[in-house]
């Protein structure tokens, strides 16, 4: 694994020197070449999504608080949403937009959507790549339990292969969301763990080999379809799943693994 660049400089130091990764307080800004790398990763994911039959779903910048309430977000992550002045929220994840659009519908066939949004989370941990505001591309699939589980497996296989083709050093780990520690949320976390509902693709981000999740692969069972009232056309329960891509994390993983200059050549 390359953790020094072609000129022998620590890649993170090089990114900072080139003003391609600029930290200011709790915010991080990306330079033009890192932003181009973010767009390049996104274009690849969209390509995969379209090939898989996904429809692009445009979403708004803010999400109604009522959508997050309906999704049970505040029960599980009570301190994690940043309110905006006009009453909307920066979404903590892109896929909530999708469930809101599906509310009270009946799906004639299993379906896949993709959407992208700027998201915000107040995460306590401080480490490279863990941004408070970030761009998340998601693929959402809704169908029968077996169909959704099969889609997730296919996405895990193809995205691991994609990461490895880019020489990223990755591992796929079982994971849980960082639910609020008390009450029923603990039960949701343990159910997630016991049923293998969440996997994360983690990439090494520095010479010490610290991994950071760059994608997650999630099954929701009927949680969102029941909350938002959408069903399959035959009247049976709709199962859902999603794949999330933290695009800045992907770009950073490429820059620190290949070295910034090598990574930037991907977009030339």
């Amino acid at each position: 694994m390359t953790m020094t660049t072609e000129i022998g400089v620590d890649p993170m130091t090089e990114l900072l020197r080139q003003h391609e990764w600029v930290s200011a307080g709790c915010e991080t800004a990306l330079g033009p070449r890192m932003l181009a790398l973010v767009d390049w990763v996104d274009s690849k994911v969209v390509e995969f999504a379209i090939k898989a039959g996904a429809s692009e779903l445009p979403v708004s910048r803010l999400i109604d608080r009522s959508v997050l309430e309906r999704a049970g977000y505040f029960e599980s992550f009570p301190a994690s949403v940043v309110e905006e002045s006009d009453g909307g929220c920066m979404p903590p994840a892109t896929c909530y937009h999708c469930y809101a659009k599906l509310a009270a519908t009946s799906l004639p066939e299993p379906s896949i959507w993709t959407c992208i949004a700027r998201c915000r989370r107040n995460e306590g941990k401080e480490e490279s790549g863990r941004l408070q505001a970030f761009t998340m591309r998601e693929i959402v699939f809704v169908g029968s339990a077996a169909w959704v589980r099969e889609r997730r497996q296919q996405w895990m296989d193809s995205i691991i292969a994609f990461a490895q083709s880019l020489h990223l050093v990755v591992q796929l780990d079982a994971a849980t969301d960082s639910f609020f520690a008390g009450g029923e949320a603990r039960g949701r976390k343990l159910l997630q763990q016991i049923k293998g509902l969440k996997f994360e693709l983690r990439a090494q981000m520095d010479a010490e080999g610290r991994p950071l999740a760059i994608s997650s692969f999630n099954l929701h069972e009927t949680f969102f379809s029941r909350r938002f009232g959408f069903r399959l056309g035959d009247g049976t329960d709709a199962y859902s799943g999603c794949v999330a891509f933290g695009l800045e994390r992907w770009a950073l993983a490429l820059a620190v693994t290949l070295g910034p200059n090598q990574a930037f050549r991907l977009v030339e």
Binding site: R186, G187, K189, L190, L191, I194, K195
Partner: protein, 79 residues
């Protein structure tokens, strides 16, 4: 061991699966049919903790230890 297994099954069938059409046998998968929700899993874990006389760390709460009532008793034993 079968005593512990029977007591656990009585708990599962009597306290967790309140719908009379749902009945677990020793080898019934507990997590593949939506019978156990986020509240019931907490009750199940609390019961097993009482049964074995110790707390169960979260990293032991995985499918290979909780797939069925028989597996739970085989893995955790009893007091």
């Amino acid at each position: 061991m079968s005593d512990a297994r029977d007591k656990l099954l009585n708990f599962i069938n009597g306290e967790l699966l309140t719908d009379p059409t749902r009945r677990a046998a020793p080898d019934t998968p507990l997590f593949e049919n939506g019978w156990i929700d986020s509240l019931k899993i907490l009750k199940l874990i609390a019961y097993v903790e009482l049964m074995i006389g110790r707390n169960i760390p979260d990293d032991e709460i995985v499918m290979k230890n909780f797939r069925t009532a028989a597996v739970i008793v085989q893995h955790f034993g009893s007091k």
